[in-house]
Subunit: 248 residues, 2 copies
């Protein structure tokens, strides 16, 4: 069981992510009350599809627990993951009624949903909500562009290291870098999902994971447990600048 599911029980929404990230971290006004009324939960089992590319998508949502992925597929089956949604991430596109890619529950998943229409109305009458959404979308765009660099120019080993670093940071709440000691987390993805994330095959992922293990960069424990003895060492393997992420 991933640590994520411990963050927040779906019944207890006092700390619901939508409140903190998606909508309004700055106020407690009537908008929030309206949102509270509107919201509802949906659960999915690991592997279950949330929406298919091309489907109508009449809601927006925030991930409460678990992990969802956005993937694009070509006719012949080649697949590329284009988004990985962790708890507190936002899904859905105000103003767009059709999903442009598949959304899948990678692990057991709980989402906090809002029907799209009323959410959009709320948005237009509440300026800073649109601004908050814009901010989040810009973050996602930054992430997508980082990801493009990874896909286009990094070696297989660098790709793997980058993904592990991203997951480690997310799972330990960004303080992984600061912490000097070893950190560990549960890999939420299969080799195949990692391959779809990285633009590789699962065989290459497996080989490179073991290469990193052989070189002492990571330890692969039981049941997908990953131990990173030295985060800086892992960061060196990513090919990124050491000072990544001092954006204002």
């Amino acid at each position: 069981m991933s640590v994520h599911s411990l963050k927040l029980a779906p019944q207890d929404c006092g700390d619901c992510p939508i409140r903190h990230r998606a909508v309004c971290s700055r106020c407690d006004g009537p908008e929030l009350a309206r949102l509270e009324e509107m919201k509802y939960y949906r659960s999915f089992q690991a592997g279950q599809n949330v929406v298919w590319s091309g489907d109508r998508m009449d809601f927006v949502a925030s991930v409460v627990s678990g992990i969802a992925s956005l993937t694009q597929t070509m006719e012949d089956g080649r697949r590329q993951m284009v988004g990985l949604l962790l708890p507190s991430d936002f899904v859905g596109r105000p103003g767009r009624g059709v999903a442009p890619y598949d959304v899948t529950a990678t692990t057991d998943l709980v989402m906090c949903c809002f029907r799209r229409k009323p959410f959009e109305e709320m948005m237009s009458s509440t300026p800073h909500v649109a601004q908050r959404l814009l901010e989040m979308t810009l973050d996602e765009l930054d992430a997508a562009r980082e990801w493009m660099l990874l896909l286009g120019r990094k070696t297989a080993r660098e790709k793997i290291a980058s993904l592990l670093a991203i997951l480690a940071r997310r799972d330990t709440g960004l303080k992984a870098k600061a912490a000097k000691g070893p950190i560990s987390f549960d890999l939420p993805l299969t080799r195949e999902e990692m391959a779809d994330y990285l633009g590789l095959t699962l065989e290459t992922v497996s080989r490179q994971m073991n290469a990193l293990k052989r070189d002492g960069v990571v330890e692969l424990g039981e049941k997908r447990r990953i131990v990173v003895p030295n985060f800086d060492r892992l960061a060196e393997e990513t090919g990124d600048d050491s000072d990544g992420g001092f954006l204002s």
Copy 2:
């Protein structure tokens, strides 16, 4: 000289893209008047840098004529283009003071700029401006994710075909698909820039361009002129679904 520069003389801003795309396609209120006062122009020569990654970026802007590119670079020089800005595209990130990637004038370039602070103030007092920006950012995010599929899973030939199709569509105003006849446009990118866009080397780009030529998919005229005798034929080479782009 690219056809783009003919679209709009920078002095004549009655048709300034910022008006139509970036800010407000729905109104003519006082916001527009305020914007008109704020705006100013900047010109860059082909090859000139607009901002470096990590620089302060105190303005947002709309491309009036020419082409700008966003690129990310690794320490060892590997480069990946992560954005290609054509006329009417928006650059800049409300709320962020630092550029996360290099912005370069790929051709001679004219941008219509607004200082960031006053623009942001205008945004917060004018709800639908933030909404419009959100919409544009979502479009960019879609484009980025399409691009990720290209980088992660397409073959060199498919990558080239995809890029040519994108440029053809943009240059002919989306009606390329409908048009049954041959279409043509000027390639605004060198082989090296195409390579940076596609995650390839320039040699591979050159070879695949000539392969497409040999196979009659495109004709390479003088001075970077590209002729596409049959757009559907080109589209087949991209690996994309034939019905790409019926988003609501």
